[in-house]
Amino acid sequence: MSEHVSINLSIDWTKAKTVVAGVDIGAVNSKVIILVDGQPYIYSQVKTRIPEESAIRAINAALDKTDLTLENIQCIVGTGCGKKQVPFAHKTISEIACGAAGAVHIWGPSVRTVLDVGGQSCKVIHVTEKSRVTAFLWNDKCAAGIGRSIETFADLVNKEVTEIGNIALRSDKSAQLSDFCAIYAQSEALDLIRSKEPLEEVIAGYHHAMAKRISTLADRAGVKKDLVIIGGLAKNQGIINSLESILKISRLAPKSEWDPALTVALGAALFADAFLLRNSA
C-alpha cells in the first residue's frame, strides 16, 4: 500500500493539449500525479528517503507504466517539504496553496477549512471558493511528526499502519494518554502494556490523544464549514472519528475516486495546468 502506481488506461496522452505533473515530496511519502488535459492519468506513491532521489523514484514509478517520458510533460510543479529538491520541476509552489487548490478541486467550492495532517507537519488552512488561502496555522514544534509517530507506534505493537486505525475503532473505551506530545503518549502507551490494558483500548487511546493534539491546533485556527481532511492520516479512520467527535464537526466524506493523501500533489498538478494554459494563451 505504501508504494503503488495507478493508471487510467482509457486516456490517450498523445492526443492531448496539456500533459502536466504535480510532485509532492512529503516527509514520509512522495507522490506524483500526471494530468492529461486536466484529467488524472496516472499517479504513484513511494516512500521518501533522500528527497531528490525520492522525486526521481516517484516520477519513474509513474513513467515506467506508460510510454511517457519526462520530456513529454509540459509543466511540472514541485511541492511538499522537499519541493526544492525536485530536479525536474519547472516551478515550486507551497504545499499549503497546493493542498487548498487540490481540496477545492476534489470537494468543490464549499470547502472553507482544509486540515492537512501529514507525516511530519500538520496545517489548518482557510480557503475561499476560488481556493485562495486566506489564513493558515502550522503546527507548533511540540506537535511535529504526528503521522510518523502513528507509524512508529504501529511498528512497536507489530501492526500494519493501515490496520491500526481500524483497531482503534473496535474499542468503546480508550486509555487516557498524554495529548501533549507524541513521545509522551508513546511512552505511556508502552507502559500500559505492562499493566496489561487491552490492546484495542491502548491503540484507541493513542489515536484519541493524537486527534486531541490536532484538534487543539484546529480550534486555535478556527474550523469553518465545510471541512475536509487531507494528507496521509486522512485515511486513518481512528484519527478521523476522534477528530470529528472532538471538533463536533463532520468532514466532507472522501471521494471514492480520490485518495486524500494525493490532494497536495493534485493541487500542484492543477497549478501546472493553469500555468501552462496561462502561458500558451
Binding site: 507551497s94 496553496a97 489564513a135
Partner: protein, 386 residues
C-alpha cells in the same frame, strides 16, 4: 578606510560570525572585556570604567549538553547563552546581568555555578516591574552598587566625567543606528533590512568607538549609493531575542518578494531605540530613568493600571512610521512573556488590518518550513492564489 558600503557590512557580518575571535582580540589589545546578558545592564557604567561590554548571544550550535545545567523547558536562547559559558567563553574578565527573566537568570547562574565565573560575576538587582515610582529609586541604588563593584575591579573611581563620556559615545551609537534604520522607512533605500540587522547585531558585540567610526563611514557611503526599491511586501518582525541572522536573510530571499523593514526585538531596536540625556548632573539617576523609559522587555512590562502593555504603544508607533504590510511574530520556543504578549497584541494588529504570522525559534531553524510559511504569508498579504 574601506572601499565601499558592502565591504563594511561584510566586516560587521564577520564579527557576528566570529564573536569570540573579536572579543579576544579586544582583550589582547589590553581591554578588560565583560560579557553581559540582556539589555538591562547599563553598559555606560562598564564603559566608563574602561571595560568593554560584549553581549552574550546564542551559539546556534546544537547543545543538548546544557540540559544537565538548565531544565528542558527553558528557552533555547537561555540554553545557547549558557552553552557559551560552558564552552568557549572562559576568557571573559567578568560576566554581568541585570535580573531579567527566569530563563536568562538560569543562563547566568550556569556561568556562575558551572563555568567558573563565581568570582567574576555581578548580578545587578534590577526590578521586575519597572514602571513604578519606587522602582526608579531602586535601580539607582543598584547601579551605585554596580559602580562600586567595578571601581574595586579597576582600582580607580569612576567619575561623572567618565560616565558622561560613555553616555555620549553610546548615544552616538544609538543615533547612528536609528539613522540606519530610518533608511527603511521609505520605499527606496540604499540598504536592506537584513543588512541593517547585521549591523545592529554587531553593535552589541563591538567596542563602541570602533563601531561608531565604521558605522559613520557606512552611513556616509550609503548616502552616495543609489537607492533601490525595497521590493515586494514590507515585513516587520516583533518578538524576543533573535540573533539568528539567517531568518532575516530568508525573509528577503523568498520566491515571492518581501523586504524586511523593521525589527522590534531585544537584539535589535529594543537595544538602542532610546537616548540617555547628556546634560543632567545625577548621572546614574539619568541612566536609570532612560532605561525605564525605553521600550520595555515583555518580562518587565507591567504597567500599573489596567493590564495595558507599554510596549504596544511603541509597536503601534513603529507600524505607523515604517508601514509594514505584515508582522512576523518571532519568539523563542518555551519563552513565556513573549507569546503571552502576543495574545494581547494580535487584536491590536487585527484592528490595524495587519496580518501576522507566528514562528517559533529554536537553537536550529527548520529553514524549509519557515520558508514555506513565510511565502504563504506573503501570498496571503498580496492576495495571490499561489
Amino acid at each position: 578606510m574601506m572601499k565601499d558600503s558592502n565591504s563594511i557590512i561584510e566586516y560587521f557580518q564577520h564579527i557576528t560570525d566570529h564573536t569570540q575571535e573579536y572579543a579576544q582580540s579586544l582583550q589582547s589589545k589590553g581591554h578588560l572585556v565583560a560579557g553581559y546578558m540582556c539589555t538591562h545592564v547599563p553598559e555606560e557604567i562598564l564603559y566608563a570604567a574602561g571595560i568593554v561590554p560584549v553581549r552574550v548571544l546564542s551559539s546556534h550550535d546544537s547543545q543538548a549538553m546544557t540540559r544537565s545545567y538548565i531544565h528542558e523547558t527553558y528557552c533555547s536562547f537561555s540554553h545557547d547563552c549558557a552553552y557559551r559559558g560552558l564552552t568557549y567563553y572562559d576568557f571573559f574578565d567578568l560576566i554581568v546581568t541585570g535580573s531579567s527573566c527566569i530563563h536568562m537568570g538560569e543562563a547566568f547562574n550556569t556561568w556562575v555555578r558551572f563555568a567558573g565565573f563565581k568570582e567574576k560575576s555581578f548580578l545587578i538587582s534590577y526590578p521586575h516591574i519597572i514602571h513604578t515610582k519606587p522602582a526608579a529609586g531602586f535601580i539607582v541604588e543598584s547601579f551605585k552598587e554596580f559602580k562600586q563593584y567595578l571601581e574595586d575591579i579597576v582600582h580607580k573611581s569612576i567619575t561623572d566625567e567618565d560616565i558622561e563620556r560613555a553616555i555620549k559615545i553610546y548615544n552616538h551609537t544609538r543615533r547612528l543606528l536609528i539613522q540606519l534604520w530610518e533608511f527603511l522607512r521609505y520605499k527606496e533605500s540604499p540598504i536592506t533590512g537584513a543588512e541593517v540587522a547585521i549591523v545592529t547585531l554587531a553593535s552589541q558585540l563591538m567596542e563602541k568607538k570602533e563601531f561608531n567610526q565604521l558605522l559613520e563611514e557606512l552611513i556616509q557611503k550609503l548616502q552616495s549609493v543609489p537607492r533601490k526599491n525595497l521590493p515586494g511586501v514590507r515585513l516587520m518582525v516583533s518578538g524576543g531575542a533573535c540573533d539568528d541572522l539567517r531568518i532575516f536573510d530568508l525573509m528577503e530571499k523568498l520566491d515571492n518578494s518581501a523586504s524586511l523593514v523593521f525589527v522590534d526585538t531585544c537584539t535589535a531596536t529594543r537595544y538602542f531605540w532610546f537616548e540617555v540625556p547628556e546634560d543632567r548632573t545625577d548621572k546614574l539617576q539619568t541612566i536609570a530613568e532612560a532605561y525605564i523609559a525605553r521600550i520595555p522587555c515583555p518580562a518587565k512590562d507591567n504597567f500599573p493600571g489596567t493590564g495595558e502593555k507599554k510596549r504596544f504603544r511603541f509597536i503601534q508607533q513603529f507600524i505607523e512610521d515604517f508601514k509594514p504590510d505584515g508582522v512576523v511574530l518571532l519568539y523563542q520556543r518555551f519563552c513565556s512573556p513573549q507569546p503571552m504578549d502576543i495574545v494581547g497584541l494580535k487584536p491590536i494588529l487585527n484592528n490595524l488590518g495587519i496580518p501576522s504570522l507566528e514562528l517559533e525559534l529554536d537553537t536550529t531553524l527548520p529553514i524549509t518550513q519557515f520558508q514555506t510559511q513565510l511565502e504563504t504569508f506573503v501570498n496571503i498579504i498580496t492576495g495571490v492564489a499561489s
